[in-house]
Symmetry: C2
Subunit: 327 residues, 2 copies
DNA sequence: TACAACGATAGAAACGTTTCGATTCGAACA
DNA sequence: TGTTCGAATCGAAACGTTTCTATCGTTGTA
């Protein structure tokens, strides 16, 4: 492994000159630079990232932390983040799991985007206190070194709920995420506000888990509740995955129930999977690519010491065929 | 940012003693170790990864390189890799895109798992020549520092093709991946072998792209070919994603065509998405978790200097409802 | 009592860069 | 011809660890 030292020796110059040359500094004559570059190539020189970042105190790597890798959901978001970072000269790495957290404090990465419930807010604040730059996508957190880019959960949940009401539904099931989820809490709050504003709406809240299993379970319970002579049920699943779980349960165990006719379902996220559902799931849509890109942009600004405002990702209602008029 | 030096000063010992203590070396008395650990905690000491790996020449990080992040497909595989590596004290990071490649030669990672067509084999060999350890999942590559863990493509393609033949189909469409794909080439070869072994089978090969678009396009072409009085068509899509694309095209443009009745489709991969298709897609299944774990295991062995054999992931035919008997 | 052996700790070099503050040398100027 | 200036290059320190070798003091042994 050739080092800068070997190049210096071969070229008959000092290591500082080699370093300047390799970094394209104008301090060095073009002539010398070229000679050094040629020798570097000849020796198969490759810089050592550890040495460089020990000195510069940066790695030009950004980490994004996800709760898990089962991210049919995250593809676009990651792509958006990566695209933006690439333009700014940063690398993106994707990490998951509590045991990966060390990369931030130990300075393996220059900053992090958090979409990962295994990070406790307290932990994040501790890192921010040490000067690490963070962008959180899944919680509210106020700190000079932390920026947040959040979904407009309330708008989304409001759109979804109002849609069900407009279609004439009077009894609404809300299948939430886990109680600890920020997004879920926000959505539930909005749902309750809508229900309050509209007289005569009955709201039944069921705690879900943001996974298919939660949707299946909720479907089962809803079916059990309306045992005889099913009254048209309207369900707002707080994410698409649970909605899909509900579709699955119904397809398997209750082929007599037709979605969009006997039961009405709205999701949240418009994940790719949702576009394959039969009938097409009605859901809350937003640009995941933009979300990722914006998060990256905010993080880079933080790292550069620019001031940043918290940002919000706007959402729209995407009407599929899974909601029909109530009776 | 406290360093080992600060701890040494505070504790009144040398930095070497601190280093030993922090690493739990038996050279240091328990008493001293405890005192040092206490001071380290008090000073909020966190080791510097760059300094450590400059010295030790390792980072304890493994990278897995994917062609893109749209990996509904990869979740289980990544989980398998991560689980195994965690047990061995390694971190997993996921990377994508040509501009990430530097992490390997610049020693930001101790080894890499490659499932990424943007890595050219020549490039990989160059790295292996420099001593980097690699496991490839998407090509055959012979090198002391490279191990391969490949799908049993031929077995899978054979199973799929024979299944169609057994069901009585005589005209088989094969929708391949891009011509450059190793997996695709292997599968096609096996298909052709099966066709050769069975008299009277007509094989039509269409080049696809492993994406939904390719499946849609193929569906369109197949429909166009069999314009009038559709003869029962049997299609082997070389991956599920194209099969799903085909489902989509048919659902949208040819609701008169029933899958499993007028057209018969086999996929490859058994991705999660496939389990939601209507009717359930018949496909080639294998354990992605095991694939990822095995790749990780081989890589760790390579890094430890153990000798390793190339491995193969076995596949099975998963019968859904997308293939029915031919006429 | 003297010495070997050993356990605990200290010292220092090394890993491969970057970068600040010299130094050198030739050209331009007075 | 001597001085100054600037461009090109050099030297050395520093980043924060790990680890080899040296030192020191104590204990056990002859």
């Amino acid at each position: 492994m050739a080092t800068i030292k070997d190049i210096a020796k071969q070229a008959g110059v000092s290591i500082s000159t080699v370093s300047y040359a390799l970094n394209g500094s104008p301090k060095v004559t073009n002539e010398t630079t070229e000679r050094i570059l040629a020798i570097a190539k000849e020796l198969n020189y490759i810089p050592n990232a550890a040495a460089r970042s020990l000195k510069t105190r940066e790695t030009k790597i950004i980490g994004i932390f996800l709760t898990d890798f089962n991210g049919a959901f995250y593809g676009d978001l990651l792509q958006g983040t990566k695209d933006f970072l690439a333009r700014k000269g940063y690398e993106l790495i994707v990490c998951s799991g509590k045991q990966s957290h060390w990369m931030l404090p130990e300075r393996m990465i220059d900053g992090a985007i958090i979409l990962d419930v295994t990070f406790e807010s307290e932990e994040l604040v501790r890192y921010a206190d040490r000067g690490h730059k963070l962008v959180v996508l899944d919680r509210e957190l106020s700190h000079a070194n932390i920026n947040q880019v959040l979904l407009d959960n309330k708008a989304g949940a409001t759109l979804a709920t109002e849609h069900l009401i407009e279609e004439g539904h009077r009894k609404i099931y809300a299948v939430t995420g886990p109680g600890s989820s920020y997004d879920s809490k926000q959505r539930l709050q909005a749902v309750m506000q809508v229900v309050e504003r509209n007289a005569g709406i009955e709201l039944i809240v069921m705690e879900g888990d943001f996974n298919k299993e939660g949707g299946e379970l909720a479907a089962k319970r809803i079916m059990a509740e309306s045992e005889e002579g099913l009254v048209s049920a309207a369900v707002f699943c707080f994410n698409d995955e649970m909605a899909i779980g509900m579709f699955n349960y119904l397809a398997e165990y209750r082929p007599d129930i037709r979605i969009g006719e006997h039961i009405h379902i709205v999701g949240f996220d418009n994940m790719e999977l949702a576009s394959y559902s039969q009938p097409r799931l009605t859901t809350i849509d937003y640009s995941k690519h933009k979300w990722g890109a914006l998060a990256a942009e905010q993080l880079v600004k933080l790292i550069n010491g620019d001031t940043v405002e918290h940002e919000r990702i706007y959402v729209t209602l995407l009407k599929g065929k899974s909601v029909g008029p109530g009776n």
